[in-house]
Amino acid sequence: MTKTLFERVWASHVVKQLTDDVALLYVDLHLIHEVTSPQAFAGLKREGRAVRRPERTLATVDHSIPTGDRSLPIADAVAARQVDVLGGNAREFGIELFDLTSPGQGIVHVIGPELGATQPGMVIVCGDSHTATHGAFGAFAIGIGTSEVEHVLATQCIALSKPRTLEARFTGSRGPGVGAKDLILALIGKIGTAGATGHVIEYTGEAIRALSMEERMTVCNMSIEAGARAGMIAPDDVTFAYLKGRPRVHTGEAWTKDVARWRRLRSNSGARYDTQVMLDASRIGPQVTWGTTPGMVADITARVPDPAALGTDAERHAAQRALQYMGLEPGTPLAGIPIDRVFLGSCTNARIEDLRAAAGVVRGRHVAARVRAMVVPGSQRVKAQAEAEGLDQVFREAGFEWRNAGCSMCLGMNDDILGAGERCAATSNRNFEGRQGRGGRTHLMSPMMAAAAAIEGHLVDVRGW
């Protein structure tokens, strides 16, 4: 049998084949948050339905909450109601909730792995596109809409058409100053934001094997920015070492059995993928986006491209629009573009290693005069860990704001937003028009690059720095 990792996980979760293409899959872990679940619970209640497996469901608040002082009530009444409604639903249906007062609260894709709730071989869903993050453990993890959230709550299953497979092989080893973010941005730049639509990406190759778990999560997280349904990395000793001892994993003999089972979760050497892409990690430099999709990305040593030089009418048109929105002229060197804000956060890059990497860059230096910079840890546990290591001091002394955990300026649902025309170096995952605030201009990059930009006041190549 020549199966890919994805096909193995898929096959072991089919409850029933519905059509040639569509199967009813069993869901091992369902993560929910305040923004995409209220209408699902309302639907359940309207129909008098129960939650089938509340113990396989985990809830947290992350998207619309403030990241400032937690002792104050939420000032935004509409957001406060949404948070209350999640609390009420969790209580009513017996679902564990990490609320604003919980030390385990955080961005849904940060806390799943942190708890060890995310495990190899699982099917994981969440009403959030960056559920792909959990694929770093060899899980098949997908983002779903609210109707599907309701369906999973009621049935613990999801009807899905089977995606195709794409192998993204990263050969070689990456150079200093190059992070996991650069690998995934380079891939998106190469295949485009719809390059993997309808596919599950499996990341392979020595450059992937060499990544830590946090780095693997960064890579899988942005699979959705390449259009993919999910991203996956076969579990190995790095995965098991990360999981061992976490609250939700087994101990003793059961753990040994789990690990033995998980070791079989990989693609056979003869496994066939529908598509393959190769990248040489040693040739990838630090990446920054210049436009309004994550695919509009280039090496920091490059210049803002000239739309006129692009291949098709549609590309020219899109690039022109993007440059106009971004307020950039073709031919401008990327390194040197002045910034107003820095956002170190999000489910892509707000784990402890990200904060360590950024702190390493800013230690003993100070944020440039006109720049406002903030760190928003991915979870309260990440925050506590960083504080135990003294990283908060490093950031504060350098002039960064040190916040509580949440999505924050990644999507700007609270008041952490960009003003019109403000330019931001961000470690998040989307640079869409208005994503971080109407008229705001986002450049995506790694935590090291964003940290260096904060100090310099402009985009800069962290390698020569």
Partner: protein
């Protein structure tokens, strides 16, 4: 319960842009509600309205010819980005019954099928032809989901292929959860095999 879709005749409006993301379709400030309704007026908010709240006459949906349009024709990778179903709720509440594009993001597509909105994939040259067809003013299409066929009064005729599962949901206006619950014995059996 999905609003059934069998056949629809309606007016086109074109939005010739690629990679239109769900943040653009419905910006985040409208996601704080707990209802499924109230999103129509906020559809494409940042493009549709100027910062002072007045309609931007330059935006495609604000042109007089777009009045009453129920079919949106647009560029590739429509609906990319966030999984927010609010984007589909906004399009449906505004009055759209179908979106025609060369490609759609995956999560957006499945959200459409569950809300009575038909995503139609057509080859890029055909989409471009439809976009040009509205330059002369109003243009109406008939979309037949049963036959998977699009026609107009000027002789335009093209087939399309909807996702079979999604098509079934739309044609029959199925309650998907009710349907899956009929398979409860299979789910229970799976749970016994995989405790």
């Amino acid at each position: 319960m999905v609003k059934p879709f069998t056949q629809h005749r309606g007016r086109l409006v074109t939005l010739p842009r690629r990679d239109v993301d769900t943040d653009q379709i419905i910006p985040k400030q409208f996601l704080k509600g707990i209802e499924r309704t109230g999103f129509g007026p906020a559809l494409f908010c940042d493009w549709r309205y100027r910062p002072d709240g007045s309609p931007d006459p330059g935006f495609e949906l604000n042109s007089p010819a777009a009045e009453g349009a129920t079919i949106l024709v647009t560029g590739p990778n429509f609906g990319c980005g966030s999984s927010r179903e609010h984007a589909v709720w906004a399009l449906a509440e505004y009055g759209f019954r179908a979106v025609i594009a060369p490609s759609f993001a995956d999560i957006f597509t499945s959200n459409c099928y569950r809300n009575g909105l038909l995503p139609v994939r057509l080859p890029a040259p055909e989409v471009d032809a439809l976009i040009r067809s509205t330059e002369g003013g109003i243009h109406e299409l008939t979309i037949d989901l049963e036959k998977q066929l699009i026609t107009d009064d000027r002789g335009f005729k093209t087939g399309f292929r909807a996702d079979p599962y999604g098509r079934e949901l739309l044609l029959r206006g199925l309650d998907e959860i009710g349907r899956t619950l009929l398979d409860e014995p299979s789910i229970a059996a799976y749970e016994r095999r995989h405790p």
